[in-house]
Amino acid sequence: MDKLTALLAGLLFGAGVTVSGMVNPMKVQNFMDILGRWDPTLLFVMGGALAVTYAGYRLVLRAPRPRFAAAFVIPSLQGIDERLIGGAVVFGLGWGLTGLCPGPAIASLVFGYWPSVLFVLAMAAGMMLARSLFLETGGTSSGD
């Protein structure tokens, strides 16, 4: 059941970023162009996702443990540090430049446009670079 749950969660996510149009990087970049070709759709995507996740988390986190796993794995890092801020700045620059962030970028691979492939390969390289330059070995620590 755990395998099926992961697959179904991925399916819902992929359907969500696609039906909302977020797999179209021009649409996302237009959201950021407040003084130009502004397309506020992303606000509704974030709003819908946040409302459901906020309410749903409160419901499921009441249980002593998840249904098909031993424990909840919640990011435990606290406090604002340079790494968090620096990472967000760098990510914001790349997101603005391309209109692509990880979820929609990976989902967009299925539509067969070469910029999707180029972007995802470069993103993978960037993640591995960050790991070898800055991060301790042993994988991601805070899990997003």
Binding site: A6, V19, R67, F72, G86, G94, G96, L97
Partner: protein, 152 residues
């Protein structure tokens, strides 16, 4: 100039489709937390798959497979027209942007889904700050490119 010969620079405001998609993404996040106890953060899920294989990567691989299948299924069912897609910039900006997104999300431990949705839903201060910062810098980048430098 656009990378593809599609003059689809302007996109229509589609609040209902946006809300529908947002609700689906929220359901995904809740299902993954309630079922497996995990955060639906795509940069973390994808990034972990790039390292050495570990036993708990099975669910991550299945999640990514589902993500791809969800996109295919949605367009097959008429929920999205992939001909409407347009990629801003050129091959250089795409590669530089991809590198920045990979570096930034690995360093900052999260992206739009992990911090922007799952983290904010937990009222995590780190996620709220991160999201505010990457939103502001994305908006500033687009402003610079489109209204100062003058790219399309």
């Amino acid at each position: 100039m656009d990378q593809l010969d599609t003059p689809l620079l302007t996109t229509a405001f589609t609040p209902l489709a946006g809300l529908t998609g947002g609700i689906l993404i929220g359901l995904s996040a809740v299902l993954l937390m309630g079922g497996l106890g995990r955060v639906a953060g795509i940069s973390g899920i994808f990034g972990s798959l790039l390292g050495r294989w570990r036993p708990d990567n099975a669910w991550r691989a299945l999640f990514i497979a589902g993500l791809l299948a969800g996109a295919i299924l949605t367009s097959l069912l008429g929920g999205f027209d992939s001909d409407s897609m347009a990629f801003p910039g050129n091959p250089l900006t795409t590669v530089v942007g991809g590198l920045l997104v990979g570096l930034g999300t690995a360093l900052g431990a999260g992206c739009t889904s992990g911090h922007g949705i799952c983290g904010i839903a937990r009222l995590s201060v780190r996620s709220i700050v991160s999201t505010a910062v990457f939103m502001v810098f994305a908006v500033a980048t687009v402003y610079l490119m489109r209204h100062v430098i003058g790219a399309s």
